[in-house]
Every structure is written in C-alpha cells, then in structure tokens.
C-alpha cells in the first residue's frame, strides 16, 4: 500500500484550474460543449469554464480520459445535462454530488415541458437544447443556482444572463420565422437519429428519425422502406445527416428514394449533440442553431 502511494505521489499538476484560482475565478467543468457555452455566457469574466467532451463527440458514447478525473476533482462546480444524456457517467456524477457541487442542468426544467417516451413516462428525451425557449429556461436555472452559489457576484451573473436571454429570445423568434417560411407541405425534417423532437415541437416542423434516441440502436429495414414511401409520397426534397452520427443509414434512404424516382439530396450536416469547431461559425450555441436553421430552410424551400 505504501508502494502504491509512493508511486502515485509524483503526478504533474499544472493547468487551467490553478490559473483560474490564482485569478480569483471559479473553475466550472461541464460535460458537453453546448453546456459550456451556456455557462460561460452566464458566468462571463467570473469563471473559467471547461467542457470534458470536445466538438463532434457523441455524448452517448464518450470515453473518459484520465485527465477528466483531475478536472472533475478540481472543479468548483460541475454541471452536466442529465436526463441520461451522459449515460453511465451521469450516474457517477449524481453520486459525486454528495461530495462536490454537481448540478444536473436539465433536471431543473419543469417535467411537463419535457418530451417523454409514450410507454415510459419517466424516461425523458435529453436533447433539450433544440428548443431555444426551453434552453433559455435552462440557462436561467443555471444562472439562479450560480447566483446562490456565489452571492458576491450575483449582480453580475444576473446582468449577463439578462443580456444572453435577450439574444436567445431573438434567436428563437428568428428561427420560428425562418422555418415558417418553408411551405407547410414541405416542412418535414428527416434525420438519422431521433434528436430533433424538441426542434419539431418548437418550430412546428414534422420530424422523422431513422433510429431511436440512442445512437447505438440500429435502424430496421422497415424503417428505411417506410421512410422511402413517405418521401416519395410527400415529394420531399432533402434529408439531413448529423455531425456526430454515421451517415450510412440516411444514405440508404436516399438511394431507395432514387430508385423510386424521387431525387432526394442530402440537405447538409446538422449539428446535433455537439457544437462545431471552437472559434468557427458553429462553435457557439447561437451559431449552431443558426447554422442548422439556415441549412434546413435552404434545403427544403
């Protein structure tokens, strides 16, 4: 046992967490990049916010690195999505909440606003960020908790949040208007996995997914052929692929429709479970929503 401890005492520790503490800032760790963006907007100058999962990572299948443990240990606050988005990792973080400050952001949303599976009312769709209005509620919730956690800077958090919520509100209006400009007959969003449920509800666009909620569950043959039927009947112009899911399934649908005489193009790569490259146009939440809406409108109109 002494040998164990001897070996483990020589670990290098030089990183952002130390830096944040030296500057008197909070060190906040989030699971997804989308959450990081939200928290960074609320916290502004008062915190360094880091995400465990990078851009383009599927949170359902994320594999932890050893450095993640260190980040979690050093974090003043840990924020994760919850509603089983992070799978087993969410369970671990819930357990960790007994020792450290851990918040499940989406658990703060009112249950009646959440989509749930028809047969299992307790299992909710975790992809809450697709409805900008719902995401605003989550941002407000996180902000409230942050104000309570760090009352000295509550005023600043409140101001940041107000400003950001206004941006989100105009984003919501914009998205609504954009999607509404697509003729009702063609307003159908076909994607590989079922992440866009909230998007469909919020912006009044019909959503069809090939796979279930999990990116692991395979698509059935009947799913493909019924989707092909649907596409040819409604004369749909485009289907979409996602950044964090394989394109194979949706390409099968495209090929099938072509054989039935309906040309369907790939309407573009939608951001589903992760943001785009940091610094790029889709590197923020607002940029991601804009990129998605633009692609959808362009392809379907």
């Amino acid at each position: 046992m002494c040998l164990f401890l001897l070996f483990s005492s020589c670990t290098p520790q030089e990183d952002t967490a130390e830096l944040a503490k030296q500057q008197g800032k909070l060190y906040i760790v989030t699971t997804t990049g989308i959450l990081q963006d939200a928290v960074a907007n609320v916290a502004g100058e008062r915190a360094v916010v880091e995400a465990l999962m990078g851009s383009g990572v599927d949170p359902h299948l994320y594999k932890a690195a050893l450095g993640d443990l260190q980040k979690l240990r050093q974090a003043d606050v840990i924020i994760y999505n919850g509603l089983h988005l992070e799978g087993k990792m969410g369970e671990v973080l819930e357990k960790l909440s007994r020792q450290q400050t851990v918040w499940a952001a989406a658990e703060g949303l009112p249950k009646n606003k959440l989509r749930h599976s028809p047969n299992y009312p307790d299992t909710h769709d975790p992809h809450v960020w697709f409805d900008v209005q719902l995401w605003s509620k989550l941002v407000a919730h996180v902000s409230e908790r942050l104000q309570k956690h760090d009352p000295a800077h509550a005023q600043e958090y409140r101001q940041n949040t107000q400003k950001y919520l206004q941006q989100l509100d105009s984003l919501h209006q914009w998205a609504k208007q954009q999607i509404a400009s697509i003729p009702a007959q063609q307003r159908i969003l076909i994607t590989a996995h079922d992440a866009f449920g909230y998007f469909g509800d919020a912006y009044n666009i019909e959503v069809r997914g090939l796979q279930g909620i999990s990116t692991m569950s395979e698509f059935g043959l009947r799913d493909v052929s019924s989707l092909v039927d649907f596409i040819t009947k409604r004369k749909i112009k485009a289907v979409f692929v996602e950044t964090s899911v394989s394109n194979k399934a949706i390409e099968a649908v495209q090929e099938g429709s072509k054989q039935r005489g309906q040309q369907v193009k790939i309407g573009g790569n939608l951001y589903s479970d992760a943001l785009g490259e940091a610094g790029g146009p889709a590197g923020t939440y607002i940029g991601m929503v804009k990129a998605n809406v633009q692609k959808i409108v362009e392809a379907l109109k």
């Binding site: 046992m1 164990f4 401890l5 070996f7 483990s8 005492s9 670990t11 520790q13 359902h60 299948l61 594999k63 932890a64 690195a65 050893l66 450095g67 993640d68 443990l69 260190q70 979690l72 240990r73 089983h84 799978g87 087993k88 990792m89 369970e91 671990v92 973080l93 357990k95 960790l96 007994r98 020792q99 599976s117 028809p118 047969n119 299992y120 307790d122 299992t123 975790p126 079922d194 279930g212 909620i213 999990s214 692991m216 569950s217 395979e218 059935g220």
Partner: protein
Amino acid sequence: MNLDAFWIIMTGSLVAISSGLLGCFLILRRMAMVGDAISHAVLPGIVLAFLFSGTREVWSMLFGAAALGVVCTFLIEFFHKKARVPADASIGVTFTWLFALGIILITVYAGQVDLDQDCVLYGEIAYVPLDTWITESGLSLGPRTVWMMAGVTLVILAFITLFYRQLYLTSFDPAFAAAIGISTSLWYYLLMGAVSLTTVASFESVGAILVVALMVGPAATAYLLTDQLKVMLILSAVFGVVASFAGYYLALWLDGSVAGAISVIIGLEFLLAFVFSPTHGLVSRRRHLVVTTPQPASA
C-alpha cells in the same frame, strides 16, 4: 489525486486477479473468448430487466446481466455437448444469437429509450474514485466498486484454492476425472458461474474491453512461460496487476483512457513473453507444451 490513483490501480488489480485466475482455466479449456461472449450476451438481460423494472438503475441492470451471463454459459455447454459442435463454434453461435435477441427486443419494445450496455452497464475505471460508499453517519469508506470487486476476488480465490483439484482434473483430463467420480458438468457450471459473476461485476466497474483483455491476455502470457498450472495462475495474476500499475501511469502520461492503456500493456507483456519465453519463445526455438500429469495429491 494520490488517493484517486491508489483506488484506480486497486480496482484494476482486483479485476486483474479475479479474471486472470479464471482466464487460465478458460484458456486450458479453449474457451478464452467466453468473457467477450458474455459482454455481448448480457444485452437481452438488460432490456428485460428494464422492461420489468421500468428503470435503468444499476442493481436491476446488474441482475439482468448476471442472469443472462449464466444462461449464455449454460447454452454454450449445452450446444457443445448435445449438438457436438466445437466449443469455439458453440460460443460464437450462442452470443451472437443472444445479442441479436437483445437488439430485437430494443427495437420492438424500447426504441424510444437509450438502452445498451455502454450507457447503462459498462463502468469507467477512471471514475471509480468518484462513486464512494458513504455510511449513514457520513463516513466515507472508499469507492463502492473496490468493495464489490474485493468481495468478488475473495470468492474467486476461495473457489480456486478450495476446489483446485477438481478444477484441475476436469480441465486437463475429463475422462480421468469422471473415472474417479468427479462430475465434469458440475465443475464446468461452477466455473462458468464464477466467470459470469466476475465478468458482470467487472463490466459494471471498469467496462468491457478491459475485462476481456484481463481475462485472456495475462493468462495467455503465463501460458507461454510455464507448463505448471499453479505457476501459470500466479504469473497470470501478477501480470495483470503489473499491467494495472503500468497502464495507469501510461494513461496519466498520455492523458488517455485508463482501460485502453492497461490493455496495451497487457499486449506488450504478451509480445515480450512471445519473443523471450524459454520454452515457447521466438528466441529459443519453441518446444511443444508437455502436459505432465502430476499426482493429484501433489497438485
């Protein structure tokens, strides 16, 4: 961080010892991939446990997985004995069938629920220190996983020391075992029960890849270095523990996955043994394994 490192290496070592010991018997029976088979075959168990309990909570998942682990090994032996197909074919047929059954169950009954081994059963060894067992009075007793794996390791150690002779004879010389009144089927099922228990508990602690790697790799390495089962068992456990240590520091150095790093070290150990083994190595031209049959009393 020091204590965290200790718990991670401790967990790795406990999994290494229990799977390494059982792995030796599996290799001798030409059933090394049974661990991998179980990792797939537990899927319908997870789905059924969810359909009955309605939650993805860890204990119901563990129960479903363990039940299907036992069913899987039972079916392997059944097909092997009754249909007279070789053991590896029997393993292949059984686990693909069970896994497929699980996929169908998901698509038919639970398509709207995120349900698979990765998100409800497989643990992550890097997060072991975070999930501590805290008593009602608020005392922290260390990670829950370490307690669970320590229990499993003790059971496996007791099982192998107490019944070494039976396990040894039924693995090496089933005909002789049967002649002196040791039931090969009984000991097969007991061994496979132990394998199911270890794999499922380990999956929940450290994830699937690491368990499969620890079950096959160290035992195969030990197999290259000795002809004696007792030595093989000890070497296998030692190689597993060494890999847990070295793998942790490799992961720390690379800031990578701990399970991945440990598995890489296991592979390296095997390569080294393959090149330098005194009996089977590339360096000293290899000589075939001669299974000496020592007297049961001395074994």
